[in-house]
Symmetry: C2
Subunit: 208 residues, 2 copies
Amino acid sequence: MAKRKVSNPLALAVMALLYERPMHPYEMVSTMRERGKHEAVRLRYSSLYSVVGALEREGLISPLSTVREGRRPERTVYELTEEGRAEFLGWLRELIREPVKEYTQFAAGLSFMAALSPKETTTLLRERMRLLEEEIREMHERLDEVAGQSVPRLFLVESEHELVLREAELRWVGELVREIESGTLDGLRGWEAYHAGPGGKTGEEDAG
Amino acid sequence: MAKRKVSNPLALAVMALLYERPMHPYEMVSTMRERGKHEAVRLRYSSLYSVVGALEREGLISPLSTVREGRRPERTVYELTEEGRAEFLGWLRELIREPVKEYTQFAAGLSFMAALSPKETTTLLRERMRLLEEEIREMHERLDEVAGQSVPRLFLVESEHELVLREAELRWVGELVREIESGTLDGLRGWEAYHAGPGGKTGEEDAG
DNA sequence: TCTCGATTAGTCGAAACAGACTATATGGAG
DNA sequence: CTCCATATAGTCTGTTTCGACTAATCGAGA
């Protein structure tokens, strides 16, 4: 798979919008927000303008016209070039077809979990479960709400995907907590011993 | 939650290693690789040296000594400061306790799925399922292998977590494909109509 | 009419990142 | 004994990306 000239996923979103019709950058943002796509693609002005600039440099989009309203800075309306259409569809196919490794914050945390005591770890994990449950409930509500506004599920698949992953994480964390507390986790003995030294190993700062 | 002075997760890994004992940067890399932690935290020299520099600037780590072996460039051995210990433990607690929103590549792809025809989408999703199954099989194998080398599960939780998420994704994609093919996905009618126009809407490039 | 807050529409500097490059040491093949 | 591949231990450069900031416009209310 050839390397992408502009690799920020926001560039995919920009091309997706221009695939429908020409637009100026700020309009892209409002359209994405309306459709809730900013939940799936990180959206920030600073990135947007540099991504738009990069796409233009690479010939994937091109300015169609610049209009000025009142005394605001003029806005450039862009359209997708033929090359841009090909790039967009190719990239989209790749993203849907090929799983890629993602580095998550939680994985980073889990990696060094052993630095905290088993007891504190389960407390934190239980807190996480509570927060996950809340989040899941809210995601369900939001999905029901927009579905009620006759947005077809077709346009909500990415939120469903996120929801499913959160649910899986919740189940897994629950199981992990049970294993630590019931003493069946392999390695627990050493973990406890490590933290049972004189004064313990963990610092005394608050867990905020 | 106070903002982190150095927010790159690699900084967490650096502090985690120095929490055990002083080390020089290259040794951090080899240690992380040995323990498989580079699967959970993105590890690159260019980032490592800038992260180490930032940590030193912020007073979270400090040079302990510089040694020179033969005519190689001299290596600086760092240790964690008291402030660094507090920062490390605080950050770790936060990562374990609080779910944060993660933006995945797949979510980006799913968001604009409708730009491809239902037929092509299912083909791509089936391919994804095949690749996911393969990946899952390999992850299982690797986990069994290292567990066989008496690495306690405690030190493999992050890989287990990743595996669980992949399995959940596989199940969900399978269901989605069934719904598209059986015609029960809400919005399918419009999706098909959109792509059934004269000549269709999708470009003719190969799906590589 | 003045003013406040929300909306629109961005800019700027610093941090993070990819990946190409440098340079020494080491061990085995020929 | 020389040559080459590999492992060690990084540096350098150009892009990307982020987060904080700026600044004009508009409508509502005092």
